[in-house]
């Protein structure tokens, strides 16, 4: 990851100067330690704002929606897959997008780091592929990056973007044997009652800030089903069935579309493990329809198509 920043700036600069793109979307240093922000560069002079390290956890595909300029976008494996899904749904025109693929070792989970240092305020952080150096009032800690990667990165099977125009860095071997379904499998092995109790416990923390929806590149509806007022399908309250329905329907909408970038879980201020739902959506697509989202531009959305021999063991 680190060390490729120069190469990123060089490639992005060439694209901008040659007029191949009018805009580069990447990451820049955030205003708080351990944070990055999306960065929009139109002037080659600003290219040194671009960074690339394990704090770059935002799924940039979100920022491709509704743009009519030609865009060069930096994309990790999950970002690139999100772009592919959006393109297959007609939301992004690939002729106007240049994907600068970034092989990725994983991004950090800020919440895990914050709980590790137990409430002390981090004033400065330097993150490399190997170590995280944290400094604050009267303390300095060095943590191994590997231990604090996001859960979705731990089970990532597409560290190199499956689709890209330019690859910056060397392709990485797909190391993870872990399919990431351990938690889903464990929940599935429980009784319906235990699962219900588990999800009530988890989802009752939701304050309906909709951060999960707002960071998700797949949530591009002009009006979300929970915001509709004519008709207002579901209540907008914190009552448990209303929140549960919001999360379940969101998971249903993500079936065959979620690429498990983990952005929703990382964005959640209430530490709700949203991946328990999105991983299930992914697993349904895999088990029922033998489908993995965002691998090929030729794919059709899994719920927008059918096969004559789709399983129907559940039909009386």
């Amino acid at each position: 990851m680190g060390g490729n920043e120069e190469k990123i700036r060089e490639v992005a600069g060439r694209l901008l100067r040659d007029g191949e793109v009018n805009l580069i979307i990447g990451h820049e240093r955030g205003t708080l330690p351990l944070r990055s922000s999306p960065c929009f560069v139109t002037d080659p002079e600003d290219l040194d704002r671009l960074i690339w390290d394990p704090t770059c956890d935002i799924n940039l595909a979100k920022y491709l929606h509704g743009r009519d300029e030609r865009v060069g976008i930096l994309a990790k494996g999950c970002d690139a897959r999100s772009i592919v899904v959006c393109a297959s749904e007609g939301q992004v025109e690939m002729d106007r997008v240049v994907i600068l693929g970034l092989p990725c070792h994983g991004v950090i989970n800020r919440k895990n780091i914050e709980s590790e240092i137990a409430g002390r305020e981090i004033l400065e952080a330097i993150v490399t592929d190997e170590i995280i150096t944290l400094k604050g009032e009267g303390f300095e800690e060095v943590l191994p990056t590997e231990t604090f990667l996001d859960d979705s990165c731990m089970s990532c099977r597409h560290r190199t973007p499956p689709v890209y125009d330019v690859l910056i860095g060397e392709p990485l071997p797909e190391a993870s044997e872990d399919d990431g379904y351990a938690e889903v499998n464990e929940l599935e092995s429980k009784s319906a009652e235990e699962r219900w109790d588990h999800f009530v416990d988890e989802i009752s923390n939701c304050i309906r800030c909709y951060s999960c929806r707002d960071v998700c590149p797949m949530c591009y509806c002009k009006e979300c089903f929970v915001d509709e007022t004519m008709p207002a399908w579901f209540g907008k309250t914190n009552e448990i069935t209303d929140t549960m329905i919001y999360h379940v329907v969101r998971a249903i909408h993500l079936t065959g579309r979620c690429v498990d970038c983990g952005a929703c879980s990382r964005a959640c201020p209430m530490h709700i493990n949203l991946r328990a739902l999105t991983k299930k959506a992914e697993k349904i697509a895999r088990d029922r329809f033998n489908f993995e989202a965002g691998i090929s531009l030729e794919d059709t959305p899994v719920l927008g198509t059918f096969k004559q021999d789709d399983s129907e063991e559940f039909i009386i």
Binding site: R288, F306, I315
Partner: protein, 155 residues
């Protein structure tokens, strides 16, 4: 205007012996299952009176919202019934719906809604007998589960 769809929650139902009776909402495709229900009636076939029928133009008209909303409003069970694959009046509506229902059912059961609350069937216009059997089956399943509690909004 912000009118939440209240729909009609089901009325409390009890049998003549005062026993709890399941209340089931059935979305029936106009072209097959609804006619199948008609045939069951014309043929004087018996089935439990626990279902309330909503006629829809096709099983694919049934959005997951209908089903989830029904559960939230307190229906004890849901039945969606459409044409057999290959017989859809709109060629492929039921095939698209089949995928959607599979995902919905998997997801609802994953969060802990009991298997048997939400049911799907294919019943053709010629299958009055099958319709009565399906209703009996669904009523038995829901009766065994008891009154719905999960996902039911109180108040």
């Amino acid at each position: 205007m912000n009118a939440e769809v209240k729909g009609s929650g089901p009325e409390e139902e009890t049998s003549s012996e005062g026993r709890w009776e399941p209340r089931i909402i059935a979305f029936l495709c106009n072209w097959c299952s609804y006619a199948g229900a008609d045939l069951a009636g014309i043929s004087r076939l018996q089935y439990p009176p626990n279902i309330r029928v909503v006629r829809v133009p096709c099983s694919s008209r049934v959005s997951p919202y209908f089903i989830i909303k029904s559960l939230q409003r307190g229906w004890d069970g849901v039945l969606v019934s459409g044409c057999h694959p290959g017989d859809c009046h709109y060629i492929s509506g039921n095939l698209v719906a089949r995928r959607r229902f599979a995902v919905l059912k998997d997801m609802l059961e994953y969060i802990g809604v009991e298997p048997g609350r939400v049911n799907f069937s294919w019943v053709s216009a010629a299958e009055g007998d099958k319709f009565s059997k399906v209703v009996r089956e669904v009523v038995n399943r829901v009766r065994a589960l008891g009154p719905a509690e999960r996902l039911v909004k109180v108040g």
